[in-house]
Symmetry: C2
Subunit: 458 residues, 2 copies
């Protein structure tokens, strides 16, 4: 550990400059005019892979943006790790809300500001520098290591599954490590073992053939915006429970042990509230905040629109109104089944004075990994050693659809080991990375690789 | 009557061509780039006034768009009529929904298609041609006549009250005739004796400091769009009654006589439904359709918006959501008092988990005129004679704020005699005017002027 720590300490500036170079490439996967930048970023990453000591690295095309792939297979008989990250980033607008330009990385205090700093280039770079550190200090890696860094995570990982199926043999591994999740607090490492699923629906209520004059014809027809509001109001009880019949049927209760473990995590309700900026907390009664966030399903209006929404006043009865409504799901809820229950409930609430359409945008299954696999225990111990604090076992309220894809396809443990923090503005202006987490992360990840060598290989 | 009818019959084409010329001017008061067109239209109108036989006509400037004013005062000792109309028009977009261009008037069958055809240039022109007909057939008008045609009706008549106050002496009259309302059916004349008032509010609900990731932070804070929907749902009972405490307190019940009269009007509920294009009727229980439309107050969501409203899906909890909500008022509801009751009710419905703002956009008092004034009876008789059908006494669901201004300022009867039809698409693409109503209207209005001569002058 001392050699590792010494190497990292001696190369802090070199690591940082290299990361800054990676962050300067505006690899925005959603925007066609950045297609060349995305391709350039994949190419650049393979160069960094080779420079960090991987034996081979190549840009592998997909039907969309390419995947940067590298490997080091010089430890026969030892376990193989498959590392996942992504090099594409979210769009940077609104640009005027950035303190410094999103693709001109800037260090202010302990923070590195840039689009992609935490999501996810900085986390990818932790692995690259852990590889470099081990190879430079001991001449080899203690395990076999494969690294795939995709370019479409921010637009739905559309071609990842095909890539995984096509290259299944080549990607074979004993343990998958995915680095795209947060820690709860600086210097407190975390392994995420659960993600919520998603069921994203839309309701469209139609009434009059066109917008009506609310004076000339107001009083004799149902108002689609009013009807929509009444439907939405009936989706939840006053205390916030979801009223869709059967919605909670498959929800697996937490074990006493898990509840106890979650209750011991360091974030206070007040700290969670501060992350939201809301006037006060408002969650499902009877559940602590982290359970409300990670282990209980939710229903939220993501968007609603109908009628006149510009400045000032216009006296119309809108012809239609619509709402996008999504539900976060927990084990063992199934997104398709929930979509059916949702639509059935909506249709029962709609009066005959309007017409309604219910759309199913997309869904994702919840993810849950048992903590008793040896790889999980080994990683937790190594991270605790590296950071000097016990590893928190956390869950995440969001959904990462490809995690299920990987877990189901490989049938191997998927460790979600991330180095972000909840307030680092991923997807927002002034995205940043807490550099102490990054540097400690490099050393801790090297420690993870080392200890993984003791696992039995399949 | 025969001379009048003969003159109109002989000049149908000349009348129509002159009206087409007036409709060709795109006098859109709301759009700055049409300012010159608006001014040109006022000028053109004064030329038509003089050509029709008025003694004097002039363009009178206001702080906004000017007023075209004309008069004929050659009947000393006889009553004086003040005619009101407006020459400005609504914007014409969406242009692609017009069958023929909005400012290239086109006759198809019995209809004249153009922006402003019915609202309100066609109705103004009815008066001009009634004046011409009387002067050409008998050399003089039977009454004194003043005509003011404003250029800001479609943008709120902002400078009308100042104009009325400034020129109060000059505008003095015994009876005011306002032509900007519909008849119920072709060839069935109507006098409108009531308008609903208006109270236009907006509710803004704010929760998180910014849009939140609905996965990462969903489950612990109130969703402003959900809260807004719950508030709106509580504004009305399931059967449509408005639940704001005190809302109905000042509503004056209809007399048995008025209910009976309204019940005898020709439009069927099915015909009203067809005007809306809604799946079915839905109004306050216990009231016939015309009472729901004209004599009962309403509450409608005019617009609602919050969160992500573009194509596809975005998983956020919106930082805010807002709704524009307006109420149509009936005698003796007061818009200011109703605004206070509304805001008080909203504040009682808002949970402490969000913040709320309540805005009062604007209001208008309801208008109601007693039908027993001799001018009303005389006009009704003349119109019935002119159209060959009894005059319907109707009310209107909409609000025309300046009607109260005129009625209160002059203290004289205001007769709302209009020649439009409910399906003529005022404010919408393919606005049109039923030409038989126009031509018969000219002759009938000449008859109204003639019979008004018998009234006592103040």
């Amino acid at each position: 550990m001392t050699m590792i720590a010494d190497y990292v300490a001696a190369h802090r500036n070199a690591f940082l400059q290299e990361l800054i170079g990676l962050l300067q490439i505006p690899s925005i996967s959603a925007q066609t005019n950045h297609r060349e930048d995305v391709a350039r970023c994949a190419q650049h990453l393979t160069q960094l892979m080779l420079a960090s000591g991987l034996e081979r690295a190549e840009v592998i095309p997909t039907a969309g943006h390419p995947i940067a792939y590298g490997e080091w297979l010089g430890a026969p008989g030892k376990p193989t790790l498959l590392i996942y990250g992504h090099y594409d980033v979210q769009p940077a607008d609104p640009l005027n809300l950035w303190t410094s330009p999103p693709f001109e990385p800037a260090v202010r205090g302990t923070e590195l500001y840039a689009r992609g700093a935490v999501d996810d280039k900085g986390q990818v770079h932790v692995h690259l520098k852990a590889v470099e550190t081990l190879i430079k200090t001991s001449g080899a890696l203690p395990v076999n290591l494969k690294m795939m860094v995709e370019g479409e995570e921010e637009i739905g990982s559309e071609h990842l599954e095909e890539f995984l199926r096509t290259h299944r043999e080549r990607l074979a591994a004993d343990v998958v490590i995915i680095s795209d999740t947060p820690m709860l607090q600086p210097e407190h490492p975390a392994i995420c073992y659960g993600l919520r699923g998603l069921c994203y629906m839309e309701i469209i209520v139609e009434g009059p053939a066109q917008d009506l004059h609310s004076g000339a014809l107001g009083g004799i027809v149902a108002n689609p915006a009013q009807v929509l509001a009444e439907i939405i109001a009936k989706l939840k009880s006053p205390d916030g429970r979801i009223l869709i019949p059967g919605f909670y049927d498959k929800v697996r209760p937490l074990s006493r042990e898990e509840r106890k473990r979650l209750a011991s995590l360091p974030m206070t309700p007040q700290e969670w509230l501060q992350l939201t900026g809301s006037p006060r907390l408002s969650g499902e009664p009877g559940y602590p905040v982290v359970e409300q966030l990670w282990a209980r399903p939710t229903l939220d209006v993501n968007g609603i629109v109908g009628g006149y929404i510009e400045e000032g006043a216009k006296t119309i009865i809108p012809a239609k109104a619509s709402a996008k409504i999504s539900m976060r799901l927990v084990p063992n809820q199934d997104p398709k089944k929930i979509a059916t229950l949702f639509e059935r409930h909506i249709r029962q609430l709609v009066p005959p004075t309007v017409k309604v359409a219910v759309l199913n945008h997309h869904g994702a299954k919840p993810f849950y990994m048992a903590l008793d696999h040896p790889a999980c225990k080994v990683a937790a111990g190594a991270l605790a050693e590296g950071f000097g604090h016990p590893t928190n076992f956390i869950r995440e309220g969001g959904s990462i659809p490809f995690v299920n894809t990987i877990a189901e396809l490989f049938g191997k443990p998927c460790l979600l080991i991330g180095f972000g923090l909840p307030d680092e503005q991923a997807h927002a202006p002034d995205e940043h990375l807490h550099l102490p987490n990054y540097f400690t992360g490099v050393a801790a990840m090297a420690e993870v690789y080392e200890r993984m060598a003791a696992l039995r290989s399949a």
